[in-house]
Subunit: 558 residues, 2 copies
């Protein structure tokens, strides 16, 4: 039997009016700011009034290291949310918004798949409620104010060679990576080298996702370091008086968006920072709002657990005072086989030994997640070709780790496909067995924090870094930034910095190439390897085949 495509399922979905979804969480209609009939923002006033309410249980969905075979983290987040709701729990999910740019390259949508999707998926992959456009505008206002400041006399003494604030666009446009602006003569400002990053890589995006209210948002925006004077003194957005206007531009965007899954589970979809140079989770506003309204909130973090979950714990949870009640690590038989050394073409045949080899990757993620003091479960996201013996091998492996694995069929069956997992998650989370502790204390030295992540999470032998980088870290410590957490930017395909090294490598070194201070977001970005902050389009971009069909429906976007 052939399955309908994601878009066919999404189009056939009978959505409930968004006010009914809000009502399920006790949000009155007046507290919903509608965007069409199927999307709404939850008003800031209403959220402020929730602050005294107790919080529900937070469940993090993370995954083994990603492979081209796919894991299905978002799909599992949706499926688990639906599964919890089917069991009668007041449940909600929290995921990230999709970036517009990659949709025109080759990436499909970011709203789950099969029977485990969030709708309206077209909107979510296009302008949605305009949050990313607002972030782009706020980012570029600051940039315009910087060049304007220099043009009118440069009172603050900015060194135009030391301006670190670039411009942003939500588009895959490699030609904007490096450019010289301010050309054409006196009236057009001062020529200097700069470039554009994609909006999801903007520090404004990370700030919006970590801010707890408008005041906190403005404070963080003001703290952004946009560059340095000739004497290397940092200059902030506040010094340029840009923080107020940026906050005004982001006032609506800070309010979390509410949509629904195919099964009408409330879904908060809000914010979408990069998972390498930023922390890769949906907004704190969405997560805390959901936790004050629902008993169980299922959320996810970008990439595999070594990057995404580590940052979720050490940056988002630490800073927002959140304490996850359970972690679900998603794996697929196919991805385990690739982690076990098989190529993409060899995934079709039964190969229990390869699965068992690949389990080393899964096992290490389980161990790592447990080290945060949180109960860990495993979801095996089933594909139709998976063999019984392969499934049993994973289940046995996970049992031997002192954890439990659950076969899940939410892609084909929706929430019904996660009933066993959901029941156990509810049980474990409700038992409040969590004793969440971040990996390192605020007070630890910055380089030591990097080493701790590298050794304890990546199982590296050590960290290598030039004296220049160590000196920079020391300088930031002396300037009062030593308490900040670390945001690692490395390949998502391996525990190491070598994307080809699958499974559970050991004994490797983590070379730090560059460090950056995100003073507004509140973390130190540590770059290990090539990190691209402005993607390009492929030879045949998806945009060429995207269009409206005769019925006015969007084709080619997914």
């Amino acid at each position: 039997m052939s399955h309908p495509s994601d878009i066919e399922i999404a189009r056939a979905a009978k959505k409930r009016p968004i006010r009914e979804i809000g009502a399920e969480l006790g949000i009155p209609e007046a507290a919903l700011v509608p965007y069409g009939h199927d999307k709404a923002k939850v008003s800031a006033d209403f959220i402020e009034g929730l602050s005294k309410r107790p919080m529900g249980r937070l469940v993090l969905v993370t995954a083994i290291n990603p492979t081209p075979a796919g894991e299905g983290k978002t799909t599992t987040t949706v499926g688990l949310g639906d599964g919890l709701r089917r069991l009668g729990h007041k449940a909600a999910i929290c995921i990230r918004e999709a970036s517009l740019g990659p949709c025109f390259g080759m990436k499909g949508g970011a709203a789950g798949g099969g029977r485990a999707q969030v709708v309206p998926m077209e909107d979510m992959n296009l302008h949605f409620t305009g949050d990313f456009h607002a972030i782009t505008a706020a980012h570029n206002l600051l940039a315009a104010m910087i060049d304007n400041h220099i043009h009118w006399g440069n009172e603050l003494g900015l060194d135009q060679r030391r301006i670190t604030w670039r411009r942003a666009m939500d588009m895959n446009d490699r030609a904007l990576r490096d450019l010289v602006c301010g050309l054409g003569g006196l009236a057009n400002g001062v020529p200097r080298e700069t470039g554009f990053d994609i909006t999801v890589a903007s520090e404004v995006m990370a700030i919006l996702c970590l801010a707890t209210d408008l005041d906190d948002l403005q404070r963080r925006l003001g703290d952004i370091i946009i560059g340095y004077t000739g004497e290397k003194v940092p200059v902030t957005a506040r010094a340029l008086k840009a923080d107020g206007a940026m906050t005004v531009l982001l006032k609506e965007a800070l309010q979390p968006n509410l949509v629904q899954t195919l099964e009408h589970t409330p879904a908060f979809v809000h914010g979408g920072p990069f998972a390498n140079i930023a922390h890769g989770c949906n907004s704190v506003m969405a997560t805390t709002t959901a936790l004050r309204l629902a008993d169980f909130v299922v959320t996810e973090a970008g990439f595999g657990a070594d990057l995404g979950a580590e940052k979720f714990m050490n940056i988002k949870c630490r800073k927002a005072g959140l304490s996850p009640a359970a972690v679900v690590v998603v794996a697929t038989i196919r991805a385990l086989k690739m982690n076990g050394g098989l190529g993409k073409d060899a995934l079709g045949a039964e190969d229990v030994a390869a699965v068992e080899r690949g389990c080393a990757n899964l096992g290490r993620h389980i161990e790592n997640m447990k080290s945060f003091g949180v109960p860990v479960l495993v979801a095996i996201n089933r594909f139709s070709g998976d063999r019984k013996a392969e499934m049993e091998a994973v289940e046995a492996f996970v049992r031997a780790q002192g954890s439990e694995a659950f076969a899940c069929t939410h892609w084909a069956e929706g929430g019904a496909g996660t009933s066993a997992l959901a029941a156990r998650v509810a049980e474990v989370a409700a038992a409040d067995r969590t004793g969440f502790v971040p990996l390192y204390p605020d007070a630890m030295g910055l380089f030591e924090k990097i080493e701790t992540i590298a050794k304890r999470i990546y199982r590296a032998e050590g960290v290598t870094a030039d004296k220049k980088i160590r000196d920079q870290l020391h300088a930031w410590e002396e300037a009062g930034h030593g308490h900040l957490p670390i945001c690692m930017a490395k390949t998502q395909y391996s525990f190491s910095t070598d994307p080809a090294l699958r499974g559970a490598p050991e004994g490797h070194y983590v070379p730090v190439r560059e460090v950056r201070l995100a003073a507004g977001a509140g973390f130190i970005v540590v770059i290990c390897g090539e990190i691209m902050t402005m993607p390009g389009l492929p030879r045949r971009p998806a945009a060429e085949t995207i269009g409206l069909n005769a019925e006015g429906q969007i084709e080619g976007l997914f």
Copy 2:
């Protein structure tokens, strides 16, 4: 007695839920796509169903040449709409959306003023319903696809020195006017000179405002000429296969936005093309939708009647098959005095002679408007310092022209302040005395069209242009673009191309500096003088003082 400020009035306004505003026009709630509780888009499906309905009467509000003293065109449009509705007519107004960029420079809002405003004014001056962001995205997708095409081998043989499509941003950012992109090596594409225009100057904006439905939108987007091959053959957006994805990005934006005046008159606020290099009117979609739902629709066109109304007639009305039933020319005593030769400091004292001299400007606009075969009335937008003798001088002058002038006090009194004007407009428009004819036929040669505008509207002695420009016009005629109307880009401060030449100059020449083909929008842009398509910020940008106050209200934006 001191008047409350615009923002105080707007904040104190009791807005009706947008569904009630829609209901007044017979739009069912399901046909409104809400954006918050006070803004909505009118759904494309509903609009399609209106196509057989008869149209109401269209009234254009235009003005004498603008001066620093102000005329109040938008305010009069709002006031007249409110006035018609107070008389019991089913009335609506149609105005343009505001550009975000200038709000952070020094310009105030664009939603009327005093008791004649459209609300919610904060939203209208910020992201509103996201239309401009969608236009920016569509514009920049095309730009990214151009550089991507060159990067991957340049199959179409584009000459990178002949690419005319720039990028767009809704921001005043002079540093982006001229730049070299594609730097940084092989992976970043091919270095070339280009730059950014502000979004309102994008041809995509003009296209959105002239498109009659989604098919027409896509056809026009496909027709955009993005540059030329080495053999000077034009290359279109269609050849790059960008038209489908651009249409998808603009699908929601094409639906007109509905808001309300302070007196709850339905207000369509949609699109906002530049009034120099584009035609400067709100969208055809908004105007035709309003005309099918209301008996009287009051709209406006950018700048003075020589630029704005001329384009409204010769581009918008001609192409959309609209026929205005009446034209209202707005003047103020202060602006007439400036046209009569007074400086800004001399406007306070009574000076009937200066008013009478300035009336030459008004008189010529009246004459010009009458030449389109449409009844013309004059609105004198009263300021508190205007003298009785000055008012009477204008009234006498207008009477002598065979027209009528009405003193209006809508700024202070809302719709009650335009009752006499509204009654007469309704009478004149309902009499269907209009015999609307555009100024020139489609078949006229392009240079002859330019001469016709210059001589008949500007009263110039003639047009000067290099052979190169005349050759270019001939080449376009031979390529099949000869039927297109002309979009003049000249100073708005004078009938001539010299901004200092107020009143009613004669005998001047109009020098054509450059011509551009906007094949998608469907007009030839004729540039006479310096035209800036990317503004800069002033020394002390408004952004520095924009922010949220302790009550969470926006300060400094207006």
